[in-house]
């Protein structure tokens, strides 16, 4: 960057005597600014904005994967999608899944973090144990779950039988399949939330608890209400948002365990997108689902930025 280094080498340029030299200086400055911005802008265009724009454009076409020709069809894909029963079922299932996984994984993450923080012994052990599901490959874990949930010889049904309860068809009963997947989702996610809450708990100054005790907060619950919960506000906000986005993205377990079945009872948004795009090769429609998905994530982010940021930060 010759102009950039030239600029740095002549800091006296602004006090130049003639108007011509001042103009030259301004030009050099603008060039330097652009050349410094360029790498970041190029990467963002290439990796983020470009693909998103492509998907939005694709959602307006009848493009099929591998097809030689395509044409614009306007909002036809959106009309088709919003008239499709499977899409609504898929959206309902996804929202239901989020509604189970987010509160459960946040509550469980907070609960375990509080329990681990309360006693100093074995802290490291518990922290590692609960974090293992986060680090494990979900596909591999899903296969393990498949065997554990097997109707005949799965560990879970064997245990139920051993204590005299009826065995369940966890993955083939339409009423049970979504809650079962949600439990796996919670199992996978809450360790991550726990680690975030642990970090949040550590940063609460100890003197606030002492002040609470002096002020008459006798029970652990009243100290939690007075100090811990409000002080964890920003962390909780972040955890809820991350959990919501991550559970919106549920795909691996559905793909391995149910393929959206039985009779679409576990069909979720990303799985619908996958099957439209890569099984039926209707890339235009898949792109439309991707746009809807993107809209939800954007909505969540906006909710965080607009409303809740003001209430949880001090």
């Amino acid at each position: 960057m010759a102009d950039g280094s030239g600029l740095l080498a002549s800091p006296q340029a602004p006090v130049a005597s003639t108007p011509h030299r001042a103009q030259l200086y301004m030009l050099k400055r603008a060039l330097a600014t652009i050349s410094l911005l360029l790498p970041a802008v190029a990467l963002m265009l290439l990796l983020l904005i470009g693909p998103v724009a492509t998907v939005v454009v694709m959602s307006l076409t009848d493009y099929q994967l591998g097809a030689a020709a395509w044409s614009f069809v306007g909002l036809h894909n959106y009309v088709e999608l919003f008239g499709d029963r499977v899409f609504w079922q898929s959206l309902r299932n996804t929202l239901m899944y989020v509604a189970i996984v987010v509160p459960a994984s946040v509550a469980l993450g907070l609960g375990t973090a509080l329990l681990i923080e309360a006693r100093s012994s074995l802290r490291f052990f518990y922290r590692s144990v609960f974090f293992i599901p986060v680090m494990a490959t979900l596909i591999a874990m899903a296969i393990s779950w498949e065997y554990m949930l097997h109707p005949q010889f799965g560990l879970i049904n064997l245990m139920l039988k051993a204590i005299g309860l009826p065995a369940q068809a966890w993955l083939s009963d339409p009423a049970l399949v979504l809650p079962t997947l949600a439990v796996i989702g919670v199992w996978q996610l809450f360790g991550f939330n726990m680690v975030l809450f642990l970090a949040g708990l550590v940063s609460i100054p100890h003197y606030l608890y002492e002040a609470a005790e002096m002020d008459g907060a006798r029970s652990a619950w009243s100290r939690f209400r007075l100090v811990t919960w409000p002080m964890l506000g920003p962390v909780t906000m972040f955890v809820v948002l991350i959990s919501a986005i991550r559970s919106f993205q549920v795909f691996d377990t559905v793909h391995v365990l149910t393929k959206g079945g039985p009779s679409k009872a576990s069909e979720v948004l990303l799985y619908t997108m996958y099957s439209e795009g890569f099984e039926f090769f209707r890339s235009g429609l898949a792109a439309t689902i991707a746009v809807v998905f993107l809209a939800f994530v954007l909505l969540l982010t906006l909710v965080k930025a607009r409303i809740l940021d003001k209430r949880v930060h001090y």
Binding site: E210, A211, E213, M214, G216, M231, Y314
Partner: protein, 386 residues
């Protein structure tokens, strides 16, 4: 309001003994400062009184009730923390309301939303509001009640912390270095305010500080702590004029007391670098002593009358007074002389000056730092004044 009585309080952290058997009686309504250098155990002692820390052994009585093993909330004490410890998510009003709500409202009356349908909440909240407004007026916080702690200056936060402590009537107030986060000017101002507050409330105050000036200006009595022990307890005058230990004499008073090594002859007479001083000990009580002389006990005299002489190394002009730093052969540290504004005008740096002192102002300590009584003889008196 209640007296506080400490008996043989000991505290060990792992193997380190932080408090080594502290006894202290604090009368009802008294303002007692625990003062000492950092690490002397004063804050630990306060936290043990509060119940935030438990003593390894010893007894604590508050208002003739033994409080050992009681959690802080049931001891009914109020504390002002060094960091103020305000709840950052609550407004000033709600911060001050916490101790009242915790004590006056039942668990259901504190529950979010639900509280308003529980009978009695409104009445309690009204009386709480009245009390808070009274305290806010007392401390000049009326206009700040809606603000969050982050929107307050250091001095205002400190006032809120005090307000939260005085809004209910605890048996005693514990203050843990409450002024140390303020700037110098505000600290001096708050010193007066806290002392006035104590007079108005008439409550028992236990005040921890490492700043001897705070202890001297506010306290009824001062307990000087060193290495986990209370070395001396007394009124500010007693502590200043009559320290029983060299460490107390050195810690209290600014600038620091001058300490000179002196020798004692067989008759008990004390000499400093060959010059006989008008001071004596009982025969045979020690052969080496340390003489403590407050900077204001020294005055300039013509050389022939001088007991100590030295070269002026530095002059500190403080306006109303001047501090002269003298290099004296008998002392490694410069000897500091405090003079009134007018008297030091003629003294230049590098000049040789002589100083003397009245025998009754000298403090004598043995090698271990214990205070030794001086005897005054007629002959010695003659030597000085004749």
């Amino acid at each position: 309001m209640a007296p506080v009585r400490l008996r043989d309080i000991r505290k060990n952290f792992e193997r380190v003994e932080v408090l080594k058997g502290v006894d202290l009686d604090i009368a009802d309504g008294e303002f007692v400062s625990l003062v000492g250098p950092s690490g002397c155990g004063k804050s630990t002692l306060l936290r043990i009184i509060a119940g935030l820390e438990s003593q390894t052994s010893g007894r604590i009585e508050i208002g003739s009730e033994n409080v050992d093993g009681m959690p802080p909330a049931t001891r009914n004490l109020a504390m002002v923390f060094q960091s103020y410890a305000l709840y950052p998510h609550l407004s000033v009003f709600d911060n001050i309301a916490v101790p009242l709500r915790m004590r006056r409202l039942s668990r259901l009356q504190r529950a979010p939303l639900l509280r308003w349908i529980v009978p009695g909440t409104r009445g309690h909240e009204r009386s709480i509001k009245g009390d808070i407004i009274q305290v806010a007026e007392l401390l000049g916080l009326q206009d700040l009640l809606g603000r969050k702690p982050a929107q307050l200056s250091g001095g205002q936060r400190q006032r809120v912390a005090v307000g939260r402590a005085i809004v209910r009537e605890p048996r005693a107030f514990l203050l843990d270095e409450p002024l140390s986060n303020l700037d110098a000017k505000l600290r001096v101002h708050m010193r007066t305010e806290i002392a006035q507050l104590h007079r108005r409330l008439g409550a028992t105050f236990i005040y921890v500080t490492h700043d001897q000036a705070e202890a001297m200006t506010m306290s009824d009595r001062i307990a000087v702590m060193m290495d986990g022990n209370i070395v001396q307890v007394g009124t500010p005058d007693q502590i200043y004029d009559d320290p029983q230990d060299l460490r107390v004499a050195e810690f209290i008073g600014s600038p620091k007391i001058n300490v000179l090594d002196a020798s004692v002859d067989a008759d008990g007479r004390i000499g400093l670098a060959g010059v006989a001083l008008p001071l004596a000990l009982r025969r045979g009580s020690a052969d080496k002593v340390r003489i403590g002389l407050r900077p204001e006990a020294l005055r300039l005299v013509p050389m022939r009358e001088a007991l100590i002489d030295g070269i002026v190394a530095h002059r500190e002009n403080l306006g109303a007074e001047v501090l002269l730093h003298l290099d004296v052969p008998a002392s490694a540290q410069p000897v500091i002389v405090r003079l009134d504004h007018g008297k030091a005008r003629t003294v230049a740096i590098g000049a040789k000056v002589g100083v003397t002192f009245a025998p009754e102002t000298a403090l004598c300590f043995d090698a271990a730092g214990r205070r030794l009584p001086l005897v005054e003889t007629a002959m010695l008196r003659e030597a000085v004044h004749g």
